[in-house]
Amino acid sequence: MEHSSANRPTGQIFSSSGIPVKDVYVPADTAHIDYSKDIGLPGKPPYTRGVYPTMYRGQAWTIRRLSGFNTPEESNKLFREEFALGQTGFSVAPDMSSNIGMDSDDPRVIADVGHSGVPLCSIEDMQTLFDGLPIEKASTYLAEKHGVLTAMYFAMAEQRGLDVSKLRGTTANCMLAWTVLNLANQIPPEAYRRYAVDFVEWCADRAPNWYPASFNSYNARDCGLNAWEELGILFSCPVDYIEEERRRGRVPLDRFVRRFAFNMAAHNDLFEEVAKLRAARRMWTKIIRDRYGIKDPRCSEFRVHLQSSGSTHTTQEPYNNLIRIAYQVLAGVLGGAQSIHANGYDEGVCLPTDQSMLLSIRTEQILALETGVTNTIDPLGGSWYVEKLTTELEERGWRYLKKIEDMGGLAKAIASGWVHNEYKNASIRRAEKITSGELPIVGVNKFRLEEEPYEVPVFRPDPKAPQAQIDRLKQLKATRDNAKVAQALKKLEEVTRRGENVMPATVEAVRAYATLGEIINVQLTVHGEWPFPIYG
């Protein structure tokens, strides 16, 4: 069978990531792929077709949305509603002030308290956030920096009499995702990695059912990196953590990596996104099994949470985003994701309203229950196009990973400014493609209407919320045993300086009602502040 693509009238077509796409794929395109070695059955290494033998036939993906706003009380109400709607996990987005690591009463962050998430200053806020919610029955994702908020979560669970070793959930704990953002008050990347690795070590010992890190390329992708750059930079992060643990030698590697999770973006190019997830599973298996010689097959299972890509959602004609999001979620399902967050269609406008939140959950439920896409596993496996794309993305992903490793690993590559330069250049390239029309966006640079045809309901954070949060924090600081707090923080600083694992002292500090801001200040005292490497 032969096919020529020589006389295309329209010229070369490229995938969203710039991979040349032929007009049709034939068996010869996949002749170099060895089915049993490179693809195999779901639930079997290299897991190209999925990490579990039954995939969605056994259990649908987890519908999970990142949420939180205003105050812990308000967010608690939201969690209760989500739980009643059938959502099976809680995802906590800390607000801007908690992300930065400043307490709500810090004058530098007053305008940001309760924005883009929920303020969490102390164990008290964590108690309020999960009040009345059966955390032992659900799994919780904490989109936090490197373990301080999780220490509060665990301490809160212990107060309820729950066994931490049985809790299920995930902490973001990802140097890659964190450093993308221009946030004040941050410690340098290598110091970040130190805390991140401390947390992984501590969980390996104390919380074996917890995913101690969710390596997250979502932000990097949203800054303009393409699918194979996303793969390369994603894996550069766990590799950097593993290399650090190898230097330390505190925890055997098979226990260190046992419960690593991943978080990627679901972008627009449907087949490329499916191929990306398949390539990611194969790459992770090769890293764990071949590079590090870790034999436990559970360690090489690439479990991934996906989120529809915010950078593809438009402010113009926001309902169009519903369609984009549905396709992106479909890519995630065809690609075999374990958990999916469908953004609100109003992502480019505001935080989700009740209505947009309901629609996101319904988007996933309709896909799961009505379309039949879950009936068989890896339905696109064996497609000459998808298999070829999977291989192509993998090869390019390895090259990008190597580039980062040649710089000394991710922490060094970030510290040098190289990574942010990549983001910057990619963002500028994307903007240029939008301006030129090379990257079509319906309603923005294609078929744009003179006047916006409609308005959508808008969520506005309650301007009174921050004061309630600030008042409560002040009250906490006035009523707790401040001598005990000071003692716990002093101990934390000593432990930090000695290079020991900081988690036991962190847990002790949060139990004494030390605040997030106070704990982060200890880190800044020891490591100094990292200047964000973008200067325009």
């Binding site: 801007m96 305008a111 953002l181 480019g348 301007p463």
Partner: protein, 135 residues
């Protein structure tokens, strides 16, 4: 624009602590390519923005906000600029800005509003009208 100055100078900044930075970088690049002198400030407090506007003798300040607190931050920036005698500086605003707030923002002293998705050439064109063309 002050006499003797060849190119209008624009200070580009994000008031507040929010982390989305690529929009500010992208617009900075487009304006620089269009001939403007760009001072990239990144995240700054309203006071910091005013101080930098004085120090740099900026003709305009370009703000980027993707958090829903622009109705709080923009008037702070405008007030700080007035406080340091820079009330004549043009204030431009981009990011996730709701149309229903445009009038309010204009009353607050914002001369150009560019919600996310505004084509770059449109931004450049509007800046030329409002701040003047680079010579």
């Amino acid at each position: 624009m002050a006499e003797g100055k060849k190119r209008p100078k624009i200070l580009m900044a994000k008031p507040g602590q929010e982390g989305h930075w690529t929009g500010l970088v992208v617009v900075s690049k487009a304006l620089r390519d269009a001939g403007y002198e760009i001072v990239y400030g990144g995240n700054m407090t309203p006071q910091g923005i005013a101080a930098a506007a004085v120090q740099e003798d900026a003709d305009a300040v370009g703000l980027s906000i993707l958090s829903a607190n622009y109705l709080q931050l923009v008037p702070e920036v405008v007030a700080e600029l007035r406080k340091v005698g820079k009330g004549d500086v043009k204030v431009l605003l981009g990011g996730i800005i709701l149309r229903q707030d445009f009038d309010k923002l204009k009353q607050m002293g914002v001369s150009g509003i560019f919600p996310s998705g505004t084509p770059l050439p449109e931004i450049v064109h509007s800046v030329r009208e409002k701040v003047g063309s680079p010579v």
